[in-house]
């Protein structure tokens, strides 16, 4: 039955998203399901049943005529001939997500190296080896830059995915959404841990100072710990946010006007226009930046967290204002497969 659903979804993927089309799809699925069930009851094998159902399905041109969609279907034919959009296969999606996680690792590690590089001179100044400290700092920064460069080298190979040449079919959408669900939990904990590390980075230094009068090496060591914690925190934040970002980018490649946008809309809302889409896509990165900048400038972490609940409330308000409603999308929810 899954094959039949996939087949039907593929047929409808590029049809305009209207109430009529949704109804037609639901009805056709019902008929196919009835036929499939009966064939299975008659003792046919899965393959035979699927083969019969699909061979007796018909074609969409006829349906388009009845639904008054000849223009759209013709346009779609012409468009797909002039500018073929193809469905990504599962292997490609897997490879892309794997590449994304390597890239996220490189960039997060690069940033962490740059942050931690300052500890070289700080720590080694305690034993009067400033020169070596600066050398270590430059080596670490060079390592970071190398990682940035490395992450950029392979990115061209994948740019076609997000540049509009491809779309996610039903199976691909499901696969990607499963990946997202799998990642979501570790995303939340990594992000939280990252923010906590940044938020309490000053704690060891202050505690150590309170317990004993720190002097010389001890203090320098605690400052190094501070930067180490910030570096770890930033690493966790960037790494997890970038992976999540590329999963979301992938889920957004389906055209919002066609039926295929329905597969992923639960995960990625489609907005009214490109401008709204742009605003929403930089919303969380902006909030995160404001939070980190404000926090690091003032070091008043016990105050700055307030930005998150406020941002969350603002987000849901803005989202509901910008979100586009499709005709019939709510009425036909119960018909979804």
């Amino acid at each position: 039955m899954e094959t039949i659903k996939n087949y039907l979804e593929a047929m409808f993927a590029n049809m305009p998203r209207t109430a009529d089309v949704e109804k037609a799809k639901a009805e056709l699925l019902q008929m196919m399901e009835d036929k499939y069930n009966e064939l299975m009851d008659e003792g046919k094998t899965e393959n035979e049943a699927v083969g019969t159902v699909i061979s007796e399905f018909g074609n969409l041109d006829e349906l388009a005529e009845a639904l008054g969609l000849e223009k759209e279907v013709k346009q779609e034919h012409e468009e797909s001939e002039a500018n073929p959009r193809r469905a990504l296969n599962l292997e490609e999606i897997r490879d892309y997500l794997q590449y994304s996680s390597v890239r996220a690792l490189c960039i997060a590690l690069g940033v962490a190296l740059c942050i931690i590089s300052v500890t070289g001179p700080i720590l080694l100044s305690g034993i009067h080896l400033e020169g070596v400290g600066v050398l270590i700092m430059f080596l670490l920064i060079a390592g970071g830059v190398l990682l940035f460069v490395f992450s950029g080298i392979t990115s061209n190979k994948w740019s076609y995915i997000t540049k509009g040449g491809c779309f996610l079919d039903y199976a691909g959408s499901n696969y990607t959404m499963e990946e997202k669900t799998r990642f979501r939990r570790s995303f939340a904990s990594r992000l939280t841990l990252g923010i906590i590390l940044c938020a309490i980075c000053w704690l060891p230094l202050v505690l150590a100072e309170a317990m004993s009068s720190l002097a010389g090496l001890g203090e320098l060591f605690m400052i190094t710990v501070l930067f180490g914690m910030v570096a770890c925190g930033v690493f966790l934040i960037i790494h997890s946010a970038m992976i999540m970002g590329s999963i979301n980018d992938l889920l957004k490649i389906n055209d919002g006007k066609t039926m295929s946008s329905k597969y992923t809309e639960a995960e990625v809302p489609h907005y009214k226009d490109a401008k709204a889409e742009g605003v929403m896509s930089i919303y969380w990165p902006t909030v995160r930046s404001i939070y980190l900048i404000w926090s690091f400038l003032t070091f008043q972490w016990w105050k700055t967290w307030i930005i998150w609940p406020i941002a969350a409330i603002a987000y849901s308000i803005i989202k509901s204002l910008f979100r586009s409603d499709y005709p019939g999308s709510s009425a036909n929810n119960n018909n979804q497969i």
């Binding site: 009529d20 037609a24 009805e27 056709l28 019902q30 008929m31 196919m32 009835d34 036929k35 009966e38 007796e56 399905f57 018909g58 074609n59 969409l60 006829e62 349906l63 005529e65 009845a66 639904l67």
Partner: protein, 128 residues
Amino acid sequence: MAEINAGISSDVIRGYNDTMILYILKQEPSYGYEISKRIRSISEDKYIIKETTLYSAFSRMEKNGYIESYEAAGDGSGKKRTYYRISEAGLNYYREKCNEWELTKDVVQRFIDGSSYLIMKGDKNGND
């Protein structure tokens, strides 16, 4: 007649899909797959209507007011399905189509090799 089994041209039969569906709905309201099954059994497996053809016909006839659709739980299974029933306008349309077919059959038959038309005509002449 068995030759038709080798493949019925959808172009030819297209004009009469509505007639077949209305004939079935005239007896009792029904739903998509049930109708397609009945068309198949009445035609003794000689005509299998495609799903898209069937739905296109539903959609067109509903727009024209020949049939009405409603949601109902099927026989025993408890599954909600879209049922169709014929309307007054649909009944009139069905009768029109029947007359049209009689006429079509009569005309086309005159051009079919080895048909029984000449005999029929002979009978008619004889009666006159």
